[in-house]
Amino acid sequence: MDKKIKISIHNLYKIFGAEPKAALQHVKNGVGKADLLEQHLHVLGLLDINVDMCEGEITVIMGLSGSGKSTLIRHLNRLIEPTAGEIDVDGEDVLAYDEVRLRQLRRETMSMVFQKFALFPHKTVADNAATLLRVRNVERRDTVAEAHKWLDRVGLHGFGGHYPHQLSGGMQQRVGIARALASNSPIMLMDEAFSALDPLIRTDMQNLLLELQTELNKTIVFITHDLDEALKLADHLVILKDGYIVQQGEPQHILLNPNDPYIEDFVSDINRARVLRVRSIMTPITDGVPADAHGEVDYNDTLESMIAHSGGDTSHSYVVVKDGAPVGVLDMTNLVKALVPRAASGYGPRPDANLREL
């Protein structure tokens, strides 16, 4: 892989309970989550997590509630201490940090955005945005300009003097994002940052995040329980279930090749035309550009836009272009096939869905 690995997690375990070390032995001996709770009264939080997160990419960790995704993100800045394992940031072992070094990591390397915004209600929006700078003891007059710059950037121009309770939920989360951005840290941790917002606002915020990301190129770790959101944002998708990783990889790849009934069930519900991209289903060029192509399409176009482009005619085929150079051929028949998911599994994340089928 040519990209630099920013955060690397190895063999991470987290067990909640009175004696996690002892319980860890049981887990390593193969005791399952349910048995661990029943026989040893310990809750298995995370089970052997291995993830590499690349610099400048959005890594989305997806799972249903209770899958351990919020626990996992809190390990990165050690709001929760692991039971066993290793977390490297820029090649340094975070778990070996002392209090001072850890504080420096939290102040300068990582900033976090929360599901419930967690703004400081007694401070104005501008002061909230400047929190991380104030924590670093930057002079107040220097922080004001910086805070306002980021508030403008997230679309809150002129709201600096308001208090958080005077803003709507979407605006409050914009403040949360401005607060995290103002720290200028290379890593952003987003814990279900958009889950508390209504769907339209959520789409707005996702677009805002993608727009900021093309400009700032941060390493973002994003937690969500919404597959559509995950597929929209992710460069690298990690799917968690009951504390272990079911599958991780490029989202398009996971969508087309789910390796687990749990994921198949997940992906069977989404709008594939909107999520899948031309690059995922094209045939790479082997022997020059075919002569009978009906036109050129971009490598990153969604299938939805392709259907509109072709007017629904399945006999067409197109040349796929990346950065001006042809890289593949898209046959509309393949496109239509790709829209049909592989048969959904008999059981999955939502047992009630299967009951309805019966």
Binding site: N77, L79, L102, R103, Q104, L105, R106, R107, M110, S111, M112, F114, K116, A118, L119, F120, P121, H122, T131, L132, R134, V135, Y163, P164, H165, S183, L189
Partner: protein, 376 residues
């Protein structure tokens, strides 16, 4: 009926016989129900030796019984006495009486009194100075300066012109009925005591909120301070310090009134939203930054409510403290009670109510301003 004295009564033989019979019937009579205990464990000699040595004083009940002519009371199982100190003492003179307990407490307090005074007297001396200084200052300031100053303070705290005029009207009324001096003395005492309560109480509350063991340790003390009748503080304080010293009532007021501000500071800090605390942690705030930047400001509504309660309780106590020479409206209330001067008592009571309303409204208005600034 202290001791078995069958021959004491010189009346008819049948009388004496009846007494003896009664005693035998209920197991040696009410005066020595527990004789059998000491007999059984072989302590009879020890008991009697003590009896011979020093004759213990008679209790009131015994005196009464004696004056009734020692009519052999029919003691039934219904009146079987609890094995209390007094009951056991009847059976065995070597056993202490309950009055020995109170005497013991008194003696031990008197024994450590001098060393207590040696420690606390210099420690609390600044309180005396502060009270004397405040009383002098408040009284020396002429009314036409004092009232505008109070109005300015009220405006600063509440930002409400209506309240400012209400306060001015109340004080003017008190001055009109010639209660201004007493009211201003009461205010001076409350000013000093409530200020010290906040200065001492808020840090204690913060310490409690940060440590569960500190909280477990402090809560019983706070419970005791809050439920102990205020007069009870005064008794040991009178022994410790001279009654003429202002710190005597100062300490009593502070002990009584400090509880709410401690409790509500602790509660307020513990109630701060966990998500916000987590955010503060995730930004790498130090404990000090977190305390003064997040926890205390967010706990401020609760702390202010505690201060309001503290002021109200010090006002209640300042009246009681007039028993130990605290000046102010309480003195007039006391005069009303002592001399049954109905009018004096009622009018000074009204003055206290007015002061209470003023203090309550002003602190509540300040609290509302804090609340309005940081609601979610």
């Amino acid at each position: 009926m202290a001791l078995p004295q069958p021959q004491k009564n010189n009346c008819a033989l049948s009388e004496a016989l009846k007494d003896d019979l009664a005693a035998v019937m209920v197991g040696s009579g009410e005066m020595a129900t527990y004789d059998f205990v000491f007999n059984a464990i072989g302590l009879r000699d020890w008991c009697d030796a003590a009896k011979a040595g020093n004759e213990r004083p008679m209790s009131m009940a015994e005196l009464l019984a004696k004056s009734k002519g020692q009519s052999g009371v029919e003691t039934s199982w219904w009146e079987f006495p609890f094995p209390s100190l007094d009951a056991l003492n009847k059976a065995c003179a070597a056993f202490p009486q309950s009055r020995d307990v109170t005497v013991g407490v008194e003696k031990s307090f008197l024994a450590i009194k001098d060393s207590l005074r040696f420690v606390f007297d210099p420690m609390t001396q600044p309180l005396s100075w502060a009270l004397e200084w405040a009383l002098t200052l408040f009284q020396a300031t002429p009314w036409w300066i004092m009232i505008p100053i109070l109005m300015a303070i009220v405006y600063f705290a509440s930002k409400s012109v209506r309240l400012v005029f209400f306060v001015a009207a109340c004080i003017a009324f008190l001055a009109f009925i010639d209660h201004y001096d007493h009211a201003i003395q009461t205010l001076a005492i409350i000013f000093v005591c409530a200020f010290l309560c906040v200065v001492l109480g808020v840090p204690i509350g913060i310490a409690m909120s940060r440590s569960d063991s500190m909280q477990r340790l402090t809560i019983p003390i706070l419970d005791m301070l809050q439920t102990l009748p205020p007069f009870v503080y005064l008794i040991p304080l009178i022994f410790l310090f001279s009654v003429t010293e202002p710190k005597l009532y100062g300490i009593a007021i502070i002990l009584y009134a400090i509880v709410p501000v401690i409790r509500l500071t602790d509660l307020g800090i513990r109630l701060v939203d966990k998500d916000v605390i987590e955010a503060a942690d995730s930004f790498g705030m130090t404990n000090t930054q977190k305390l003064f930047g997040v926890q205390v400001p967010l706990a401020l509504p609760n702390i202010m409510a505690g201060i309001n309660q503290t002021i109200m309780m010090s006002l209640a106590m300042v009246v009681i403290a007039s028993l130990v020479s605290a000046p102010g409206l309480g003195v007039l209330v006391l005069r009303g009670i002592r001399n049954l001067e109905l009018g004096v008592g009622l009018i000074s009571g009204l003055g206290i109510v007015l002061l209470a309303i003023i203090l309550d409204r002003v602190t509540k208005a300040a609290l509302d301003r804090v609340n309005a600034a940081q609601k979610y």
